[in-house]
């Protein structure tokens, strides 16, 4: 602060204040203040960085976790079903139309159904589908062995008890792959079972065949397309509206069980996350406030010296404000980088997929940091404004 004393008269002070020197002096004061009290400055900066990092991580998570959870929820299978009206088949280009609306990435699987008879006259439902896609769509299917050649079938647990020559051998691994015969409208084929399918639901009573083999045998084309559509309820709703005119012969129905269950759990999680994020961000903001107020209050002697040497209230205020703003900016930048890292780490640990950095969060973190820094700088200054510099300098 020694350089202030080289100023001679209030007139010169005023001249200097107006001139270019004023700016460089100002910057120098800022830097000297940071360097001379680096320990306290570092503590304040640390608090700022931690708060900004926590805020960044929470905001990033809040935005990204919903997308992450949504993709988790897609493991529940299809949330939309396209069904041909009145038991007809879907038009041949139905699949292409579905893909044109939902995009190639969305999983859509076509199913064709027929009721065939076993050798002893029992009725059994046979389904033609695309195994690779069905496997992706329904990851909960417990399959002892997926078919790898066309013509091989996946036999539901209960259907196997009916068609298999040796029902006692069902639990044995590897599953007894004895071919069996099915007839559909007088046409008989031999089916080689590749594995057992267990789901605990209707699939257990069915036999799944490759689509081409199924169509060669029965001549029936798909009547149902199951779709695992990504996105929010509103996005899915608009996709349904776009698809409806393209497929007039079909009904497009959301699977309410899946959609509502997902919406329910997602809403609750989001609300909890929001409450938690608010609490955490508030706490860290409080931490910064406490640290910075202490820091500025400690420097009341600097404040008193500046005032005693004739600095105007505006200059003192802007000095402390600039200091606080600089702290806020630096803290926000470092905190943002660390927060992105923390969010990515949480994403990797918990969801096995990194959380995508959202740079749109940065302006909020920056504005919040600067605002808190300014508040914590101005508050002590306002308290000290009425106090005579002499009293502070005397150490009272």
């Amino acid at each position: 602060m020694g350089s202030i004393s080289t100023l001679h008269s209030p007139k010169q002070v005023a001249e200097r204040r107006a001139g270019a020197h004023h700016a460089s002096m100002f910057v120098r004061m800022l830097i000297r203040a940071a360097v001379l009290r680096r320990r306290r400055a570092a503590a304040a900066l640390l608090a700022m960085v931690v708060a900004a990092a926590v805020a960044t991580a929470m905001m990033n998570l809040y935005v990204d976790v919903q997308a992450k959870l949504r993709s988790e929820f897609r493991n529940y299978g299809a949330n939309l079903v396209v069904v041909a009206k009145d038991g007809q088949s879907l038009p041949a280009d139905a699949m292409a139309k579905v893909e044109s609306v939902f995009g190639e990435k969305t999983l859509a699987v076509a199913f064709a159904y027929a009721v065939a008879r076993t050798k002893d006259g029992q009725s059994v439902v046979v389904v033609g589908t695309d195994f690779a896609r069905a496997r992706q769509l329904n990851p909960w299917w417990k399959v002892s062995h997926w078919p790898d050649a066309s013509g091989e079938a996946l036999v539901g647990m209960r259907a196997a008890a009916v068609v298999s020559a040796n029902p006692q051998g069902l639990d044995r691994h590897p599953f007894d792959r004895q071919p069996f015969e099915l007839t559909f409208q007088g046409k008989a084929i031999q089916i080689v079972p590749a594995g057992l399918l267990q789901t605990g639901a209707g699939e257990d009573s069915r036999i799944y065949l490759d689509r081409s083999a199924f169509e060669n045998w029965t001549g029936i084309t798909p009547s149902t397309i199951e779709i695992a559509a990504n996105g929010t309820a509103a996005e899915i709703e608009s996709s349904i509206r776009r698809l409806t005119p393209l497929l007039p012969a079909a009904e497009i129905r959301p699977v309410r069980q899946i959609m509502e269950g997902e919406a329910n759990v997602l809403n609750k999680t989001r609300a909890t996350l929001y409450a938690a994020a608010t609490l955490v961000v508030l706490t860290s903001a409080l931490c910064v406030l406490a640290t910075l107020i202490g820091w500025v209050f400690d420097r009341r002697r600097d404040f008193a010296i500046m005032k005693a040497l004739g600095a105007s209230e505006r200059l003192v205020n802007s000095f402390f404000a600039a200091e606080a703003a600089a702290l806020g900016v630096v803290g926000a930048i470092f905190g943002f980088v660390i927060g992105i890292g923390v969010a990515a780490w949480i994403g990797r640990v918990n969801f096995h997929a990194p959380v995508v950095p959202r740079f749109s969060v940065f302006p909020y973190v920056l504005a919040g940091s600067i605002a808190i820094a300014l508040v914590s700088a101005i508050l002590p200054i306002v308290l000290l404004r009425g106090v005579q510099p002499a009293i502070i300098l005397r150490g009272e």
């Binding site: 959870l69 069980q257 202490g294």
Partner: protein, 453 residues
């Protein structure tokens, strides 16, 4: 002398102590609320996941194949075995009965629906010109049935196990919900002992029926109490009270399958093992864990001639969703604990740093480093305990508020949490004070008293 010093410090510096105390209180409150929410979130989300419906299915042991395509049952009615309705309350007698949220029996009956006498001539003409009698499936079930097992009374049915089923009672009753008391509270759901039915929305559209109309089902004129919308096969079916379905089928007490909705523990290495191959100790551990597999095993024991199977679509996925959400909350709780520890430390450090002059005075009067530190630590301890107690109560209230507003149920606060929270508060306060006390004690009293900080 020592207690007096501490006492006077609190009496004269009320404002500063209050600030530090507020910081500790807030920090502890946030930590308590977050820990309470994080420990309870698993249970809460598990209950929310029940909105996906039943995760277990009980069928007769000698069950035959379902021949069903698109919700239309193609099997002759007399085919297959049945469970006995009288056995169902035993579900509440299994080991994990507290985990069983609800169950709903189902009895599908193939019926013919025809035009009833109350139809307008136009509708009747349509039916004659069109397909006349229609083959549809009528499913008998519990809606919200009062049952008792031993002394325990409980209600169960599809309104619990199938929460996505929606019933609209049509404009006839929407306008005046208070007209008849019984139906007003049910909003279109039939009573379990009535002869009223629900008609799936697509079937209703085809039959041109609305709530309040009469529909002839296999020769019986039945009142439609509401239109059912499920987004599934039931949209093409009729849903009726179980007793009515049994009457139509002519098999009193018969049930085809039972959907059970249970709170389960996510699967792990133990859950997937076959109980037949376990040693007795492992078997006990498996039996006494609420895995979906062990609950299925116990249901099978409780109901004679039954086979219980997990519905893998629901059962297998809830584990992953649950563990993701729990993991997320755990990590966020760590972040909250870290942030509040830092806030408390910062507040304590500031509070002590401001009292260098006092330290200088004490040292100038001959107090040793230990004596000075002891005073500060005693103050910190008092602050931590007081702030901890208030903070714990505030945090408990906060957690309750979160539980009530988000999950519509209480968040239980374990009493064990209290000593843990107080211990954490004391530890964090001490840890935050140590560095500041060390520096305050090291400071030369001469400089401190001259005010050259």
């Amino acid at each position: 002398m020592f207690p007096r010093l501490v006492y006077e410090s609190f009496r004269h510096q009320t404002r500063r102590k209050l600030l530090a105390g507020i910081a500790i209180t807030l920090g502890v409150a946030v930590a308590t609320a977050m820990i309470a929410v994080a420990t309870d979130i698993g249970d809460k989300i598990n209950r929310e996941l029940r909105s996906y419906g039943a995760n277990l299915l009980i069928t007769p042991q000698e069950d035959t194949l379902d021949v069903e395509v698109g919700g239309v049952n193609l099997k002759p009615p007399s085919d297959g075995a049945y469970l006995s309705e009288a056995d169902l309350p035993k579900i509440r007698g299994t080991f994990w009965h507290h985990n069983i949220v609800g169950f709903a029996p189902m009895l599908p009956v193939p019926v013919k629906v025809g035009a009833s006498a109350k139809d307008t001539s136009k509708d009747a003409a349509k039916n004659v010109a069109g397909d006349g009698d229609k083959d549809v499936t009528l499913v008998g079930t519990y809606f919200n049935k009062q049952l008792s097992f031993g002394k325990e009374e409980f209600t169960t049915g599809v309104r619990i196990t199938h929460p996505w089923w929606k019933v609209s009672c049509g404009d006839a009753r929407d306008g005046a919900p208070g007209q008849s008391e019984g139906s007003a509270t049910n909003f279109g759901w039939p009573n379990d002992d009535s002869q009223d039915i629900l008609v799936g929305e697509r079937l209703a559209a085809r039959l041109h029926k609305r709530a309040g109309d009469t529909l002839e089902v296999s020769g019986r004129p039945l009142t439609i109490s509401g239109i059912l919308s499920t987004g599934g096969n039931e949209d093409n079916q009729i849903v009726a009270p179980l007793a009515l379905a049994q009457q139509i089928l002519g098999k009193p007490g018969a049930v085809r399958r039972v959907y059970v909705s249970a709170l389960t523990k996510p699967p792990d290495a133990l859950s997937a093992r076959d109980p037949k191959t376990m040693t007795p100790e492992v078997y006990d551990r498996w039996y006494c864990s609420p895995y979906v597999e062990s609950i299925a095993y116990q249901l099978q024991e409780a109901i004679p001639h039954s086979h219980a199977e997990q519905i893998r679509q629901v059962a297998q996925n809830e584990g992953t969703v649950l563990s993701r959400i729990k993991g997320l909350m755990l990590l966020i709780t760590f972040a909250a604990l870290f942030a509040s520890a830092l806030a408390v430390s910062a507040a304590m450090a500031t509070a002590i740093y401001e009292r260098r002059v006092e330290v200088g005075l004490m040292k100038a009067l001959g107090a040793g480093n230990v004596a000075v530190s002891a005073i500060f630590f005693a103050e910190a301890l008092l602050l931590a305990v007081a702030g901890g107690i208030v903070g714990f109560s505030v945090g408990a209230l906060l957690a309750r508020q979160i539980g009530r507003s988000i999950f519509n149920s209480q968040i239980a606060i374990e009493p064990v949490l209290f000593p843990i929270i107080i211990a954490i508060a004391v530890f964090v306060t001490f840890a935050g004070s140590v560095a500041a006390i060390r520096r305050a004690v090291k400071f030369d009293p001469v400089f401190a008293l001259r005010g050259e900080g």
